[in-house]
C-alpha cells in the first residue's frame, strides 16, 4: 500500500534519470502517492534498484534502460510504457547533468563535448517530449515536468554546455506550454539550485562552507526531497491551471546573487 493520500493513484509516470539523486527521490515520492513509475536511465542496476523500491512502496514499477540522447531508445521507452503499464500521464525529464560541464578553457572544448553536453541536457528532453506528447494530445491530458537548473538562468564560470542547454530547456518548456495549452497538457520547469544528491549532512553555515554553499542564502544545500516534492505538486491535479511556469527551488539563491553571502552593508541616510 502506498503510504500517501493517493493523489497520483492510477497515474503512470516516467522519470528519466530515475536511478539516482533527484530522479530517484521524485520516483519514490510519486509512488508514495500511488503513481506507477517507469524508471529510465542508462545504468540498469540503479534503475532496477529504484523500481524495486517503488514496488516495495506498493505501486507497479518498470525499469527501462534508456539513453535519452538516442531517439529510438526514447521512442521505445514511451511505447513500452504505454503497452506494459496501460498508459502515460506524467513525464519527468530529469536526465542529464553528468556530461555537460567542461570547466576548462573554451578553446579546449571539443565538438564532441559540446554536442554531448547539449544532447544530454537539451536534445534528450526534446526526444522525450516528442515521443510522449502525441499520446497526451490524443488522451486529452498530460503533464511534463522538466528539470532545468539555476545555471540555465545565470552564468556560471566555465559552464558552457550545461548552462546553455538548461537555458534551452527553460524556453522549450514555455514553447510547449503555449503550444499545447488548449490540449490540457501542462508543461512546467523546475530550476534546482545546488542539491546535495549524496544526502550528506549539509555543512553548517559558519565555518567550513564549501565554495557553492556560500551562494545559498538559507545556508544549506538542497536535498532531493526539496525538488521531488515540487515535482510531486506539479504532477498532481492541484496544478492543473499552472503551465509554462519556471520554479526555482534553490534556497533563495536567485533572489539575491549580486553580492556575496554575508555582505551586509550599513548606510546611514544622508540628509541634504
Amino acid at each position: 500500500m502506498a503510504s500517501g493520500n493517493g493523489t497520483l493513484q492510477g497515474k503512470v509516470v516516467i522519470v528519466t534519470g530515475g536511478g539516482t539523486g533527484l530522479g530517484k527521490m521524485t520516483a519514490l515520492l510519486m509512488a508514495k502517492e500511488g503513481a506507477d513509475v517507469v524508471v529510465a536511465a542508462r545504468r540498469v542496476g540503479a534503475i532496477e534498484q529504484t523500481a524495486q523500491e517503488v514496488r516495495d512502496i506498493g505501486p507497479r514499477a518498470l525499469a527501462i534502460s534508456t539513453d535519452v540522447t538516442d531517439p529510438s531508445q526514447v521512442n521505445n521507452l514511451v511505447k513500452r510504457t504505454i503497452e506494459e503499464m496501460g498508459g502515460l500521464d506524467v513525464l519527468v525529464n530529469n536526465a542529464g547533468i553528468v556530461r555537460g560541464q567542461a570547466r576548462r578553457p573554451l578553446w579546449e572544448v571539443t565538438d564532441d563535448e559540446w554536442r554531448i553536453g547539449i544532447d544530454t541536457n537539451l536534445s534528450g528532453t526534446f526526444y522525450c517530449c516528442r515521443a510522449a506528447i502525441k499520446h497526451f494530445v490524443d488522451q486529452g491530458h498530460g503533464k511534463i515536468i522538466n528539470i532545468a537548473s539555476g545555471n540555465g538562468m545565470r552564468g556560471s564560470r566555465g559552464d558552457f554546455m550545461y548552462g546553455t542547454a538548461k537555458a534551452g530547456v527553460i524556453n522549450f518548456t514555455r514553447v510547449l506550454a503555449t503550444t499545447f495549452a488548449q490540449d490540457n497538457i501542462q508543461v512546467n520547469c523546475i530550476a534546482p539550485g545546488f542539491v546535495d544528491v549524496t544526502q550528506l549532512q549539509p555543512e553548517p553555515r559558519a565555518g567550513g562552507m564549501t565554495r557553492n554553499a556560500q551562494y545559498i542564502p538559507v545556508g544549506r544545500f538542497g536535498v532531493p526531497e526539496d525538488i521531488g516534492h515540487l515535482a510531486l505538486f506539479l504532477a498532481s491535479d492541484a496544478s492543473d491551471y499552472i503551465t509554462g511556469g519556471l520554479f526555482p527551488n534553490d534556497g533563495g539563491g536567485l533572489a539575491g546573487g549580486i553580492s556575496p553571502t554575508g555582505y551586509a552593508p550599513v548606510i546611514a541616510m544622508e540628509e541634504e
Binding site: G150, G155, G256, I258, S259, Y263, A264, I267, E272
Partner: protein, 251 residues
C-alpha cells in the same frame, strides 16, 4: 563623440532628481551628444556643477532648485523648462538616496523616506513631463535605478523596494504611453563609485565577488543613456538594462 545616429542635437533634456552624482554624469553625456540640458533637484550646488558640464560642452542649460517630493514645485519646474526651451524630448529621472539597515531595525520614517526620495519624484516628474510629451506625441524617459530593484541584498530591503517601485512604474507606463510615442526604459546600475576604492566596510569581499572585480564609474552609464534617448529607439521600450560589470549575470 557619439555615433551620428545617436546624436541628440537640438533636443531638450531634463535631468531630474537628487542623487550623489547622476545629474553631473547624465548631464555631461547628454550634452556631449548635443542636447541642451535642464537640471532640477533640491541641492542647488550639485545641479550648478552639473550645469557647468553642459555649458563647457557648448550647450544651453538651466538649473531649477526643486523639492522633487512636492508635486506643485515639480509642475512649476517643468512649466519653466518648457517656457525656456519650448519642449522636453528627454527626461532622465535620477534619484538615488541610499540607505541600508537590518529590516527589523528600520523605522517607519526611514521606510517612508526611501519612497518619498526615490519613488515619489519619478511619479511627479512622469506626470508633469508626461503631459507635455503626450502633447508632443513623442518623448523619451529613462529611469536610473539600482540592480536592487530586481535582486535582494542584505540590509537593503527598503531601498530595494523603492527601486522596485520605479521599475514597475517603468513597465506600466510603457504599456500606457506606447501609443503616444513615448518610450520609457530603466537603467539598472550595479556597484558604482567615482573612485577606485571607497573605504566602505567589506569592500574587499564585495569587489572580489563582482565579475569585473571593480566598481563601475558613473560616467560608464552615459553611453547607454544617450542611446536610449536617441531617435533610434522608437521600438525599444519597457525594458530594464544593466550597467553592472556582469553582477546580474552571475550565478
Amino acid at each position: 563623440m557619439v555615433a551620428k545616429d545617436f546624436e541628440l542635437s537640438g533636443k531638450v533634456a531634463l535631468v531630474a532628481g537628487d542623487s550623489k552624482y547622476w545629474s553631473k554624469y547624465a548631464g555631461a553625456a547628454l550634452a556631449e551628444a548635443g542636447a541642451n540640458v535642464a537640471f532640477a533637484a533640491r541641492n542647488a550646488k550639485r545641479i550648478e556643477e552639473a550645469a557647468g558640464e553642459v555649458s563647457q560642452r557648448g550647450q544651453k542649460t538651466l538649473t531649477i532648485t526643486t523639492d522633487m517630493t512636492d508635486a506643485s514645485q515639480v509642475q512649476k519646474m517643468v512649466d519653466q523648462v518648457v517656457s525656456e526651451f519650448g519642449r522636453i524630448d528627454i527626461l532622465a529621472n535620477a534619484n538615488d538616496l541610499q540607505f541600508a539597515k537590518p529590516f527589523l531595525d528600520t523605522l517607519e520614517s526611514e521606510w517612508h523616506k526611501m519612497f518619498s526620495a526615490n519613488l515619489d519624484p519619478v511619479f511627479h516628474c512622469c506626470q508633469a513631463v508626461g503631459r507635455q510629451m503626450v502633447k508632443q506625441g513623442k518623448g523619451r524617459i529613462i529611469n536610473l535605478i539600482s540592480c536592487m530593484a530586481e535582486r535582494g541584498v542584505e540590509n537593503c530591503s527598503a531601498y530595494g523596494a523603492a527601486m522596485g517601485g520605479v521599475l514597475q512604474l517603468t513597465r506600466a507606463l510603457d504599456i500606457e504611453w506606447a501609443k503616444h510615442g513615448i518610450t520609457i526604459n530603466a537603467i539598472g546600475t550595479g556597484w558604482m563609485s567615482e573612485t577606485e576604492k571607497t573605504g566602505a566596510p567589506q569592500e574587499e569581499l564585495l569587489l572580489k565577488y563582482i565579475p569585473v572585480k571593480r566598481y563601475g564609474h558613473p560616467r560608464e552609464v552615459g553611453s547607454l543613456l544617450v542611446y536610449l534617448a536617441s531617435d533610434t529607439t522608437d521600438f525599444f521600450t519597457g525594458q530594464l538594462l544593466y550597467v553592472d560589470g556582469a553582477a546580474m549575470s552571475h550565478l
